[in-house]
């Protein structure tokens, strides 16, 4: 079946299998920053924004995303144009293997879009469901708080 989406601001028409998940569709089209982890909706590695809200793309059918707007990690920044949230994760050494990082960065983007001054409790609650096996869960929380400062700084 054909689906039409806005992916990172670009209109796309993709041919998909009926049973294909959004994670696969994105990765098949080169957007491999979205990771395949538990494939059960539980780990956060596959997170993307669907109409501005974080969703686990591993349990969203590509067909369900037809007509919607998707933002992946590639839509936030790249090595030459690093997004302030990405910079905060690097600065807080909240990245080691990097497998969990795209999901956490995308989740942080949604949080800051709705709550530009999160508390540590907000950050913890927001990253619940994002598992980091390398750095533990503390540094990503620090990264979220730093990211809030950086995003605010970038806007002023």
């Amino acid at each position: 079946m054909k689906i039409h989406l806005l992916v990172n601001g670009e209109p796309r028409e993709w041919e998909c299998e009926v049973h294909e998940f959004l994670t696969e569709a994105l990765r098949r089209h080169g957007l491999v920053g979205t990771k395949r982890g538990c494939e059960d909706g539980a780990c956060g590695a596959c997170a993307v924004l669907l109409d501005g809200r974080e969703v686990p793309s591993c349990i969203v059918l590509a067909a369900q995303a037809d007509g919607h707007e998707i933002t992946t990690i590639e839509g936030l920044g790249d090595p030459r144009h690093v997004h302030p949230i990405q910079a905060a994760f690097v600065a807080a050494t909240a990245v080691q293997c990097g497998f969990c990082t795209p999901g956490m960065v995308v989740a942080t983007k949604e949080l800051l879009d709705h709550n530009p001054t999160p508390s540590a409790a907000d950050a913890r609650r927001r990253l619940a469901g994002h598992y980091c096996r390398c750095t533990g869960q503390i540094k990503p929380i620090q990264a979220v708080l730093d990211a809030a400062e950086r995003v605010k700084g970038a806007q002023t």
Partner: protein, 285 residues
């Protein structure tokens, strides 16, 4: 890609959804957020009928009550202006306790109600609030609407099979509600959940001793009657009297996560706290 779907459709009307549900290829299912259906364990499905074009996402105050479209997500329920007050606290608390934000962004209230599992937090909240469901079914080829009480127990849930849940109606009159739960961690499924609500002098208490095989979601009618009798003014020894009533009414249910007596005692404590909260009392005991 463990699903083996052959057909996906996104009909524009309730009638079209219900008719497609009966057509081949089978088995078929209505699809909302997909946080249950799109997860392993549904490999047998051949057709899904996506409900998103029905846009059942209204959350609106209505004659003192609130109407919640079945497609509303648990995140939308937490944020909706019509659900911000004390009467609907139990509902917001149940939605916020659900897994994590990404799942809350996808899970719909209709999907949660339709899933054949009486455990978890939302059902006790809905039962305590006296929720009613607007459902549609195909009976002898004709679409029929029904408004039913929130079903407690497997027998009552039979009416939901093959039905499309259109909306949840929270009636007027509830002045305060509260939900208390305990899990091993913030993101774990709870060991027990109790919700309580006050509508005038009437008090409703609903409990789940959580776990696969645990007794169904239940209203604790004897304890409800006891608290209702107190007409909003709790007597000095209310905690011990209510605890005694609760313990007599709750069945012990033990599993690998908690022993039966512990879970029963925990549920009684959670109920005491929920009842304290809806009376503005301190939550001790």
């Amino acid at each position: 890609m463990y699903l083996a779907l052959e057909d996906y459709s996104r009909p524009q009307s309730i009638e079209a959804c219900l008719r497609l549900l009966q057509q081949p290829p089978q088995p078929a299912a209505l699809l909302a957020g997909g946080t249950d259906l799109n997860v392993r364990g549904h490999e047998e499905l051949r057709r899904v009928i996506d409900l998103q074009a029905l846009a059942m996402t209204e959350i609106e105050a209505l004659e003192g009550g609130v109407r919640i479209g079945a497609g509303s997500t648990l995140r939308e329920i937490q944020e909706a202006p019509a659900l911000q007050g004390a009467p609907h606290a139990a509902l917001r608390e149940a939605a916020a306790a659900f897994a994590n934000v990404a799942i809350q962004n996808r899970s719909t209230i209709g999907g949660r109600i339709a899933v054949e599992r009486p455990d978890q937090d939302l059902p006790p909240a809905l039962a305590a609030l006296g929720a009613r469901l607007q459902i549609y079914r195909l009976i002898n080829g004709v679409v029929e609407e029904q408004v039913i009480d929130y079903p407690l127990g497997d027998a009552a849930r039979a009416v939901l099979r093959g039905a499309l849940i259109r909306a949840v109606e929270i009636p007027a009159g509830v002045t305060r509600s509260a939900l208390r739960r305990l899990g091993r961690t913030a993101v774990d499924r709870p060991l027990a959940t109790v919700a309580a609500a006050r509508a005038g002098e009437q008090v409703r208490i609903a409990a789940n001793l959580q776990g696969p095989g645990a007794a169904d979601l239940r209203r604790l009618s004897r304890s409800e009657a006891l608290v209702t009798e107190w007409r909003g003014r709790l007597p000095e020894n209310w905690r011990s009297r209510l605890r005694e009533s609760l313990l007599a009414e709750l069945n012990p249910y033990g599993d690998a996560f908690a022993g039966g007596e512990y879970r029963r005692d925990l549920s009684a404590t959670l109920a005491l706290r929920a009842v304290a909260a809806i009376h503005g009392e301190e939550e001790t005991g």
